[in-house]
Amino acid sequence: MFDLNIWQEIGSTIRKNRLRTLLTGFSVAWGIFMLIVLLGAGNGLTHGMQENFADDAVNSIWFNNGTTSKAWMGLKPGRDIVFDNDDLTYIKANFPEVDLISGRFWLPWNNVTVSHNTEYSSYQVLACGSAYAEIENATVTKGRFISDLDDNENRKVAVVGQEVIDKLFKPEEQALGDYIKINNVMFRVVGIYQDNTGWDNKRVYIPMHTAQSLFNGGNRVHNIAITTKIDPKEAPLLEAKIKAYLMHKYKIHPEDKKAIFVWNRLDDYSRTMNVFSSITLFVAIIGIMTIISGVVGVSNIMLITVKERTREFGVRKALGATPGSIVKMVIFEAVIITAIAGYVGLLGGIGLTEAISAVIEQGIQQGPRQPGQATMFRNPTVDITLATGATILLVISGTLAGLIPAMRAAKIRPIEALRDE
């Protein structure tokens, strides 16, 4: 197979037919390049969306209170539903599927003045249980999150978002262990957290019971969040069971849709997963189409090339070329051109996707992410095995495409090829 003579002959043919080589090469390189950029874009979109789910635990279900819209059991519509601490206890005790549970209670005022020394600003202050950190997917960067002990003993402790700290404390000040004033009540900072999306960094968390007793909350709970480890498919059932309990307890018309709002992240997650698979399918279809068009392009050029070279093949045959040597020449030439061009396209595509990826990563690393800057696009890179496979496929199909006309050309009798036209 390896005969220097053959390669020299093919090399000189390739070098001396630059335009033809370039055209064939370009169609292959372009096909591979487009395929990789396309697959990269699909991957980037998928990665970006997955990233956004880092926000909250994907297996969480949230129950929010609303207002009744239908009369039921002698009660008028327009009644505000408010959950209470007993609901949390009941759900925890009666639904073994529930993994973590936390209520949420916000101070009666939407934005509460939080101050430290002379610095003050208004923030959202949320009361919750110890499990909430995990439900919200908030990472405590310093100190700890609220514990059950804090909650049970009504301790005045707070876990504060990084942005709040940045605003209230001077850089040289040690925030952890220091005190902040929430609505003129002193709270000790026991932890600093960072939310994974950057959305919820402007909050202050305090223990549930502390908030209820300090800020006239009674035993009211504004919403309930649970997580579960069951199969996402069974989540709607659990959701329905808990909802039924709540509806029954608060005497809500079974068809009242405005009394309790449920937000099932599992649902959301599987919906998004469906979107992912649609994207993947879409990208796969376009990828296959790109490959096909590349194959068609290469085949076309090979066909024209062989036709154009019929006379040359005739001359070669008259001078002693065997049909096999003609086929070999065409095939080797096709393999060399498509392989090199495919490699160039591969490098170009990977280079571009890696460059985009690097730029995005750099953008992310520059400072904390702003709310709303949720990435739509992240790490748009392609599996190298896949890319190489596609290149090899294109090389093989390009070669096969060249094989048929080459065999036909090799069969043509030299007299026909040499006939003066």
Binding site: R316, A318, G320
Partner: protein
Amino acid sequence: MVDINELHKSYINGKNKLHVLKGVNLHIEAGEMVSIMGSSGSGKSTLLNILGILDNYDKGTYSLGGKLIQNMSETKAARYRNEMIGFVFQSFNLISFKTALENVALPLYYKGMGRKKRNLVAMSYLEKVGLEPWANHLPSEMSGGQKQRVAIARALIANPQLILADEPTGALDTHTSYEVMNLLREINEAGKTLIIVTHEHDISQMTDRIIRLRDGVIEREEFPVKAATV
């Protein structure tokens, strides 16, 4: 050298069968310079193709240099062409993207000779046809006469016993034609057998023997008076 007995060849074109050669008998001795003449449709091109093992025949026998040429595989035919026959065509048939030197060297490539060696040999043949300075020119940069001389060098390089020339002067002016014929005569005098297909009277007069084909058979043979060489 060439021994043809009762050669028949027909072409089948759909339902029509075209009987082109109807029993040709031809004997050419080694070292002869023969021309084949005939009007178009007389079968001279077909005969030439069979002589050049570019086409096969239906009936009869054809021996070249004592070897019977019959029902050959393409590969074997290619080897015989490479070793025994040199071709010169009316339209030169040089490979356009190869230089004069590379064109001349091509038959040696198919003999399996290395590049350096075959280029050396090709240079010596270019020298013989007086085109040494043109070795690195492409065919498109040369005149018709030069191209034909390159083609002749190419036909000679594998040292075949038989040179087949199909209208070698058909695309050349009279002066250049005579130059080419003189070159062919020199080659013949160096011991090669030459068969030239032509329809030009003066060209055929420069050969040893004229074979006139008509309607697929040899009508007659003529022996022109020598010294027609210019």
